[in-house]
Subunit: 332 residues, 2 copies
């Protein structure tokens, strides 16, 4: 019995030492990964992307960037949005998202005036919010990540000048009442005026964001200016309509369009549209998540009133898409 | 003896199961951290910051951001720069840095024209380069992170309007031949004109970036416009001179200055300068390193000609510094 007792005590002792070492080792690993384990969150840390017209292709690449950043940082994401072009629906969706207290929200604001109050409510509850693609000026969101539309127009002007050998007569078909389209048009016209004296912007027309209307407008312009060498269309539906008009008249008019929906890319591939401008949508999603992660983990210095120091604006860039590189832009 | 044996077998079995579970648990942790262990580099991965006038206070906070990001991402940094305001020295320093093939270079370009060639050489050799604080337009660097000077001027206008109760006569003392100062002045004047009809910008003068000259200019302006209620100075040396002038005449003229060198902060603390605009220098350094890390590790999608998708511009933001928050801005 005595022998049994000694053996018993010995084995229990060995077990205790083993368990102790196990925990020691584990806590060493944990503290190591806190010291220099890189940037990493928790898998139950959820970041939400909120859009409107949530089913359209345009958001796919924004979400891809958001997801890629989440994978890199070991956190989770969720995609929500108003299914319709309906700001009240987007407010409701945002309210539902806030109620579940996520680690952060990236939102594209359909209508700044109607969303600012709800965005501010989230920030006041301590939920980090950044805006992407469409800003809500004056809201308490910490940053805006999106295209600089003036520069996008300037990029279109440079490309058009290259296509036309720096001379000729051009037209713009746009949405004259929408700010981002006004800026695209302004960047295009001012760049032509300042840098390409051989090119004249002859006319600016309203295409109403519609393929049929834009087609009709293009047909009229091409009749009025038979020597027109180029058309810049500031949005994708119009670009398709203009492509059809030029094709119908069998003209050689150069076309530059905007964005990368499937019909536009197909027309670039066929050579009906000479170039289209791709927005940095992946960048919007990727850096939006990075910013939210930094806000959630308080990784940036706080200045006055605990307001964290964040970049106020990120110009996510523009890429010119032509026949040569069109294949990389189809949504995967 | 039989009882002893059973006990013995039982305990050894328990131990074996425990050890087995321990290893199982450990390998699960290891594979988890390989799959999604967050963003982390290697400690021998070196990123270099290159400046000019490398000893001035202004860069300290840029470097702090750069170092903070390096610590978060588990990589190393080095600080280099021309000691003088000498672009040839900066070119030489940059050449030396390139020769050692670092993982990435963040540079503030003293003179874009003379640096672009060397910056492009680095990019062509496969070394990621981003610009911060001072851009080199037209270079092959992947991004620029710095202050939007027009917006900074607008921020100064809003603060001035607040200080003056939206009415009065104001002056601007600036460097009229330098682009960033032209933009600050333009943002200030246009914002006043559009949003504050009760405020008149009476005069814009050259302070030559010098405390004594700016003091003299301020004394003259205050004599010419005895009812002047505010002065916006677009750089720090001038701000100190204007503070001395207003103090000398025992006027109540409100002063808004720029940047956060020690003399400026001291004058804010004493109430001689009412507000100064702090640039987002920490953001410049922090996000410059993040971008270089992403370029080095090829973490962003590549589009045409293997050109990685990066934000083209980051507005690193402006913070208004007043008596209330001045203490957080002294260099640590």
């Amino acid at each position: 019995m005595k022998k049994l007792l000694i053996m018993y005590i010995f084995l229990v002792g060995a077990l205790v030492i083993y368990v102790y070492n196990y925990h020691l080792e584990n806590s060493r690993i944990n503290s190591l990964s806190q010291e220099s384990g890189g940037l990493s969150g928790k898998i139950d840390e959820k970041y939400v992307m909120v859009t409107f017209l949530s089913g359209i292709d345009y958001w796919k690449n924004c979400l891809k960037g958001f997801e890629d950043a989440a994978q890199a940082l070991n956190v989770s994401v969720e995609y929500r949005g108003a299914t319709q072009y309906d700001v009240n629906e987007q407010v409701t969706v945002l309210e539902q998202v806030i109620a579940r207290k996520p680690a952060g929200i990236a939102i594209s604001a359909m209508d700044p005036n109607k969303l600012t109050k709800t965005i501010n409510k989230a920030v006041e509850q301590g939920i980090p919010v950044v805006l992407f693609d469409s800003d809500a000026l004056g809201s308490k969101a910490f940053s805006f990540l999106g295209t600089n539309n003036y520069n996008a127009g300037a990029t279109a002007a440079h490309k058009m000048a290259e296509l036309l050998g720096r001379k000729g007569k051009v037209a713009v078909i746009t949405l004259p009442n929408q700010l981002n389209h006004q800026q695209r048009t302004k960047g295009f016209i001012e760049t032509m005026y300042k840098e390409y004296p051989g090119i004249e912007v002859a006319v600016v027309k309203d295409g109403k964001g519609d393929a049929l209307v834009s087609k009709q407008v293009a047909l009229e312009i091409l009749k009025q200016y038979p020597d027109l060498s180029g058309i810049f269309v500031t949005e994708a539906n119009g670009g398709v309509g203009v492509g059809e008009a030029v094709s119908l008249l069998a003209k050689k008019t150069k076309i530059i369009s905007f964005d990368t929906d499937k019909r536009t890319l197909d027309m670039v591939k066929q050579g009906l549209i000479d170039a289209t401008l791709a927005q940095g949508t992946w960048n919007m999603g990727y850096w939006a998540l990075q910013f939210l992660f930094h806000l959630h983990h308080k990784l940036t210095p706080s200045l006055s009133s605990d307001y964290p120091l964040m970049p106020s604006y990120v110009d996510t860039g523009i890429t010119v898409v032509t026949k040569e590189n069109v294949d990389s832009f189809y949504a995967k």
